[in-house]
Amino acid sequence: MSPEYMKEAILYLQDGAAFRGHVLGQTGETAGEAVFNTAMTGYQEILTDPSYTGQIVVMTYPLIGNTGVNNDDVESDKIHVKGFVAKEFCRRPSNWRATKSLTEYLNKNKIMAMEGVDTRALTRHLRVAGAMKAIISTQDFDPKSLQAKLDALPSMEGADLVREVTTPKKYVWKAKGPRRYKIAAIDCGIKWNILRIFADLGCETHVFPATATIKDILAIKPDGLFLSNGPGDPAVVTHVIDTVKQSIGKLPVFGICLGNQILGLALGAKTYKLKFGHHGANHPVKDLEGQRIGITSQNHGFCVDTKSLDPAQAEVIHTNLNDHTSEGLRHKKFPVFSIQYHPEASPGPHDARYLFKQFIDTIDANKTHA
C-alpha cells in the first residue's frame, strides 16, 4: 500500500508514551484499555471475543491477517475490540476458507486498525508499566488533548461491561444429535465455541441474560449451570454474583474466565487486577488434581486472590506455572468448579478441553446422587 492511502495515526497511552503508525481504513478516534495478545494465530476469534469489549488489542505477532477471515471462525456476531494494532496487516490473504481480507472485514465493521507500529516496544512498555488506557487517533496528535480525553474515560477497574455484551433475551443453542443434558448458561459475553462444545457433548444450552434470576434459571430445570467468560471488572457484576451464590448447592456449576472470578466472589474471595493480564495461547497451567500440565488459551485482566479464599469452602485446583496465579477453583462440598483460562480455546490449544467432560461427569454424578 503506498502512502497516499495510509493515514497517519498515533497511539497515545495514559502515561504519556506515544507510538506512531497508520490506519488501514477507518479513521477518527477510538479509546480503550491497551492490552497485548501473544497468540500467533486466531486473530478473527480474538476480534469477535466479547471479553475484549472496551479494549484495544495489540498483537505481538507482527504479521496479522495472513489467512483473511471466514464465516466460521467467529466467537460472537460482531467485532468487540475497540481498536486493533499490529506491525503489518496482510493485504493478500491466503487460505482455502477465506472469504475476505482482514482489512475489508475491519473496514466494513468500522474498526480502527493501526499498523506500522513497533509493537514489540509497545508490548515491552505495557509489560513494565501495565495495561492502561490508550487512544488511537488520526485527527488529534496533541498529547495534552489526547491525555484529557483519556482522563475522561472510565477505568477498567470498576467497569461493568457485561451489560454491553450480554444477550438481551434468552436463547437456546441446540445439542448436536439427541439432547442428553440441559445446561443453563449465564451470558456475560459468552464465546460461541463454548456453546459448540456443549452441543457436541449432547447439551442443549439455554443462554440467559446476565440479569436472569435464580428463579428464571431453575424454572427450566437445568442439569447444570454454566458461568461464561466476559469483559470488565468482575467485582461490579453484583447481580450475577448473587445469582451464583444462590445456585451453589442447587446445581452443578462450571465457570470459565469471568465466570471463575464471579464464582470466587460468590464464595467470598476477592479479585484483583493483574498488571498486564494474560492474553495469549501458550500459558502452562498445572491441573493440581490430575497432575497434568496443559498449554492453555488465556485472556484475563483480573484474577481471584487465593489468599482471600476461605480454605474451608473452596480450593485452588489449577495454577499458572509462569506466575503462579490461580487458574481454577473448586467448591469443597458441592459440585461447583471454575477455570480462569479458556478450555474452549478458540483460539489456542485444546489441551484443557477435558474440563468440559469433567463438568458433564459432575452432572452425571449429581444425577445419580439425586
Binding site: T38, T41, G42, T67, S94, W96, R120, G280, A345
Partner: protein
Amino acid sequence: MPKRTDLKKILIIGAGPIVIGQACEFDYSGSQACKALKEEGFSVVLVNSNPATIMTDPGLADATYIEPLTPEFLEYIIRKERPDAILPTLGGQTGLNLAMQLYEQGILEKYGVQMLGAKHDVIKKAEDRSEFKQAVLKVGLDVPKSVFAHNLQEAKKAVETIGFPCIVRPSFTLGGTGGGIAPDMEEFERVAALGIASSMIREILIEESIEGWKEYELEVMRDAADNVVIICSIENMDPLGVHTGDSITVAPAQTLTDVEYQKMRDAAIRLIREIGVETGGSNIQFAVHPQNGRMVVIEMNPRVSRSSALASKATGFPIAKFAAKLAVGYTLDEIQNDITRETPACFEPTIDYCVVKIPRFTFEKFPEAKDILGVQMKSVGETMAIGRTFKEALQKGLMGLEIDHAGLDNKQDHRYIEDEKIRLRLKEPNASRVFYLKYALQKGMTVDEVAALSRIDVWFIDQIAQILELEDEIKAAVTAGGTLSPSLLRRAKENGFSDAQLAEMTDRSEKDVRALRKELGIVATFKLVDTCAAEFEAYTPYYYSTYETEDEALLNEQKRLAQEGPKKKIMILGGGPNRIGQGIEFDYCCCHASFALKDMGFETIMVNSNPETVSTDYDTSDRLYFEPLTFEDVMNVVDVEKPDGVIVQFGGQTPLNLARRLQQAGVPIIGTSVDSIDLAENRERFAALINELKIDQPANACATTKEETLAAAGSIGYPVLVRPSYVLGGRAMRIVYDEGFLKEFLDEVHSVSRGHPVLIDKFLEDAQEVDVDAIADGKDVYVAGIMEHIENAGIHSGDSACVLPPHTLSESVVAVIKDHTVRLAKVLNVVGLLNIQFAVKGSRVYVLEVNPRASRTAPFVSKATGVPLAKVAAQIMAGKKLGDFDLPDPGKLKYVCVKESVLPFSRFSGVDIILGPEMKSTGEVMGIAPAFGVAFAKSQICAGQALPQVGSVFISVNEADKRQVACVARKLEGLGFKLFATKGTAEVLRADGIAVTVADKHDEGENNALTLLKKDEINLIINTPSGSKSQSDMRVLRAAAILHNIPCITTLQGAWAAVNGIEASIKDEFTVESLQNLYRRVGATHRVARTAAGAG
C-alpha cells in the same frame, strides 16, 4: 519427576562426518546434550568420527572417542567404558541407526545398556514406514495412499493402484537418499531400483503424489510425565515435492488459521504419544491440500533434527539441551527457561518476528548435475534470517546466503529472459527459483499466475510482489527527483532492502547510501529473541536487527555499563552458511575463539547467520547477533557494540572478504593485519615475497585478460594450474594440460573471480603435498602440525586424505618445511593462525600457498595433538604470547592420525567421482591408531568405505601409473585377493608375474567389470583416470561403485594407503582409545620446553 539416580554413565553417539542431509546441526545438538548431562553430574562418553566438531572437544565429555561409527567399534567402546545408558536421539539418523543396530545385534543387552529417550520399538515404529502408517491411522489421522514393495516386480505391480506421478521413499535411509518422484513407468523403474538398493532393509514405499500440497513441520517435545509441547511450527515456501532441507522455510507457519493449526497440533500430540517417544524432541511433517484443507501426515523423526536445530534458533528454545535433561528423568515443568529465568520450559514459545531459512546449494561445483530440486536433499548448508516481516527476513536471508545477490535483487535483467524459460524455472523447483518469482512478476505475470505455475502459496508470491512494488516506487522516485525521501528510505530498510541493493537502484555507492541514512537517523535497531514475545523480561542476549523505534541492544548495553562499568569486548565474525570449502571447521574455530576469550575475561560477541552451528547457540558467546555477514550488517553491530577488537580470521573466506572494508571503516581488526592477509593472498605480491626469501615456488604468473593468461601459461609450460584469486575451496580451479582446454575454461574463471586476477602456476606432477598449521605471535612461531597428503599434489587439500605426523617425509625435508613456516610467519608478521601448503618433489620443497587464517585442518590438528589451536591463537590475538603457553612437540606423537574426506557424489547423479583441484568434499573423518596402516583403515571405515579383507579387486590404471601398479597388485595378491584388470593393466601385471583375470571395460564383452560389480564379485576398485577423453570410459563403473557402496580408489597413492590399511586390518586387532587417554600419555612423556624460537 526428578533426575534419575540409577544412571551414572551415559554414552552419546554423534552424527559422523558432514554429509548432505546431516550437517553441523548435530554438533550443535550433541554439544548441548554433553553440556547438559555433565551439568547434571553424569559421566559422559562421546563417540563421533568427525574431528571438526565441538562435541569431540575433550572438555565436553569425560571420555571422547573419535572412532568409526559402526557396531563393531561401538562395542569396543561399550566394553571399555561400560555405560549404563545410551542416548541415541541426538546424533541424527546416523546415531539413531547405529543405536538400532547395537540393539538388534544384542550388544546393548549384553552389556546392560539402556536406551534413553526412545527405545528400540519406538524408533522402529516411527522409522518403519508400514508401522508408522498403521500408527497414524490408528489415532484417526490421514496419510497419502501408499503401498510397500521389496523388489522391482512387487513395485511395478503396486504402482498400478497408486498411479503416476508417485513418490518412492526407501525405508531407513539418510535425508531421503535414494528417493524420488516418478512421472512414468520408465522413471519409476529406475527410482524404485535405486530406492530398494539404498534402503537398509530393502524396502520402499510407493505413495500417492501429494506434490504441490502445502508442507508444514511441527517440533514437538514430550517428557516422562506425558506433557507435550509444540516448540515451533514451520511452513515450507516450496510446496511438497522439494525436500524440506532444500526448501525455503518460514517460522512460524503463516497461512494456517488457528483452527487448522490446532488440528495439526492435536495430531502431533496424538502421534508422539502413539509412537511412544518417551522423552525428547520429535519432528512431524504434514501436508495440507491448498484447496480443501485435507491434512495428511508425511513422516516423523523421533529425534532431534535439522529442523529442531532451526526451531531452537528460531525461537530461542534449546530443544537438544532440554531433550537431554528430559532423557534423564526431568519433566518439562522442572526445567527452567534460561531466557526468562522465571518461567518453566513447559510452555510453547511465541515469537514476534518472522524467520526465513534459505538453503545454500553448490551446484556450481558439479556442473554435470542439474540444479533441479526434488525429494532428495541437495543443499549443503543454510542461512537463517530474522526480521519483523517476511519481506525483511527474506531479503536479509538472501544477503546472508552469500551467493552474490544483494537481497531479492536484479542480478539478471528480466527483459532478457525468455518467457518460456521463466515458466520452466517456475514450474520446475530449482536452486534459484525465488529470483524467478520476481522476474516473472517483473515481466508482467500476475501474482495468481506465478502462484499457479510454481504452486507456491499466493501469500508468498504477493509478499514478493510487495517487495517489487516498493522497488518500483524507489526507482520512480529516483527518476523523478533524484533523491529518496526519508520516509521512502525508511520503508525500504523496513522491507529488508540492503544498502547495496539501494545503491544499485539509485546509482550511488553503498557507502553513500549508508551515510545518507545515518544522516537521516535511519539506523538498524536490535530486538531480542526471547521465546515469549516480550511478555516476560528476558536475560539471554540473542539479537537480530530490524528497522524499528526501540533498540534493545543499546538499552541493555547502557544498563550494563551503568551496572558493571566498561568491559573489553571482542567480536568474532562467523562463517555464514555451510558450503563445500567452508563448513564446520571454521565454526569450530569461531567457537573456540569465543570460549578462550571469555576465559581471558573479555566479553565476546558472535555474528553469524548459520542456524546449524554451535556458534549461533546463545550459550556460546556473551552476545549473539544473528545477522548476515555483510559489511552493512556487521557495521550495524559494530555501531552498537563498539568492540575493542574484531576477529576475521576464523570464519573462513566470508569474514576475510570483509576485512579490508571493515578496516577502512575504522573497525579494529585484531591478529594478523589486513595488509599481511592481502600480501599472502595477492599472488603478485606474494610471489615477489617468496623470491625475496629465496624459497622455492612453482613458476607462476598472474594475468587479468585472456591473452595475458594464454601467454603466461605458454611461457611457464603446461601442465598449469589455473585459478582465480580470493576464492576458497578451489572454486573453478583446474589443472590444464594444453592451450585449447585453457581457452575453453577462461570464461568461467573470469566470471568467478569478478575482476580479481587469474593465477597461473606450474603444476608439479607427482609431487607430495604437505599442509602445515602453525600459530605465531608476531615474534615466535609454533608449528602445530605437519600433515602429509596421501594423494599427490593436484587434488584439493580439502579432498585429500592426510596423515599426521608425516610418515614418509625425510627429517631434512621436515626441517626445511619448519624453517619455511617460521620464516613465512615472521615475514608476514602473523599474529594468530597460519596454514601453508607445500609440495615436495624429491628433496625440494615448494611453497604452494600461505593462508594467514584458520584453516580447514585446524580442528583435525587440534584433535590429533591435543593443542587447541584456535583457542591459543585467539588468546594470542588478544595479547598473549606463545611463551605464555606450554605447548607440546607435535612431531613426537606416539600414534598416527589420518584425516579422510567424505564426498557427496551419491547425491548428484551424473557427476563423476574423480578428484581434482576443485574441492568437492562436504566433511571429514579421522582415524587414530598406533600405526599408519590401521589408522588409515579406520579412517576408511569412518568414511563409510570400509576396505575389504577378502575378495576381489578390479584394477585399471592410466599409463603413468602402470609403472608402479605392480607393487600394489603384488601385495594384494599376497594378501589373498583375486585380481581383475583391464587388458592394458593386466598386461603390465602379467609381465611382472602376477596372476590376473582380464575383465573388460563396462561396455565390452560378457565378463565386464560392471557385471562383476553388480554380482557383488568385486570388493574394491582401483581406477586412476587418464586424460579427459578416456575418463568417461570408467565413469559408469565408478557411478555403479557408489551405488553398490564398493570402495573406489582413484589415485595410486590412495591405493598404496589402502593396501597398507588392508594389511593392517587383517593382521592387527583394532583398538579404541579415548582422546583424554591419548593426551595424558602425550602430556606425560612429550611435553617439551619451549624453544627460544618457539618453532617447536
